[in-house]
């Protein structure tokens, strides 16, 4: 497809379980971003990759959150020992612009809605 895809679209986890969320960016897009969106709020930044390098992970809320993009394309966001406060929509976005560009337009996937019981 032409857009950003994410899987699964919905995930229900019991507290304490580990989850893995996948993002397939637009082909050729260099930059990839993960955001967390709580109900009724705007997205909040989690982490940013340029190709396979994780250049900014300042938004990850705890060391239970881990993201990777080993080949510079598909990315996985992993949450270990999930807690109820992790319940949110996790959005992935990609952009063809690099860190040296004057601005970047980000294109979002549909998100993964995570519910932790």
């Amino acid at each position: 497809g032409a857009g950003v895809s994410q899987s699964p679209r919905y995930k229900v986890a019991k507290r304490g379980q580990d989850v893995a969320l996948r993002c397939d960016p637009i082909s050729g897009h260099v930059s990839l971003f993960w955001y967390q969106q709580a109900l009724g709020q705007g997205p909040e930044f989690l982490t940013y990759f340029q190709n396979e390098a994780q250049l900014d992970k300042s938004g990850l809320p705890s060391d239970r959150f881990f993201a990777e993009r080993p080949e510079g394309s598909v990315s996985t966001l992993k949450i270990q020992r999930t807690q109820q406060e992790d319940s949110a929509v996790y959005l992935c976005a990609s952009s063809w612009r690099t860190s040296g560009s004057s601005y970047n337009e980000q294109f979002f996937g549909p998100g993964t809605r995570l519910t932790v019981l």
Binding site: V4, S31, G42, P43, Y48, E105
Partner: protein, 113 residues
């Protein structure tokens, strides 16, 4: 405290009315983007503004970037039910140089037929 303040938070209007949504900050942004998000979907990019004072038009939507690059507005003329959704402004902060977008909390618009 939200870095980007959007107002109003909620807006319910009749088809054909005009409306303006505001996005304000004390920080300067390199660029500012407007997105629309529908339930169960990701945000869809509407426009990017990069120059202070810039005005862009997209059919019935008019976007303006403040001269000081700290604020922006979205004006919709003759709103239609298809305009219903969550409108989000988002910007790249100039001072941090970070690539991440900082989002406002959104304006939820409901246009009644």
């Amino acid at each position: 405290t939200q870095l980007l303040e959007q107002s109003p938070q909620f807006l319910s209007i009749q088809e054909g009315e005009n409306l303006t949504v505001y996005c304000n900050s004390s920080s300067v942004f390199s660029s500012l983007q407007w997105y629309r998000q529908e339930p169960g979907e990701g945000p869809v990019l509407l426009v990017t503004v990069v120059t202070g004072g810039e005005v862009k038009k997209l059919k019935r939507l008019t976007f303006q970037f403040g001269d000081a690059r700290k604020d922006s507005s979205l004006h919709i003329t003759a709103a239609q039910p298809g305009d219903t959704g969550l409108y989000l402004c988002a910007g790249e902060r100039r001072d941090t140089g970070r690539r991440a977008l900082t989002f406002g909390s959104g304006t939820r618009l409901q246009v009644q037929p």
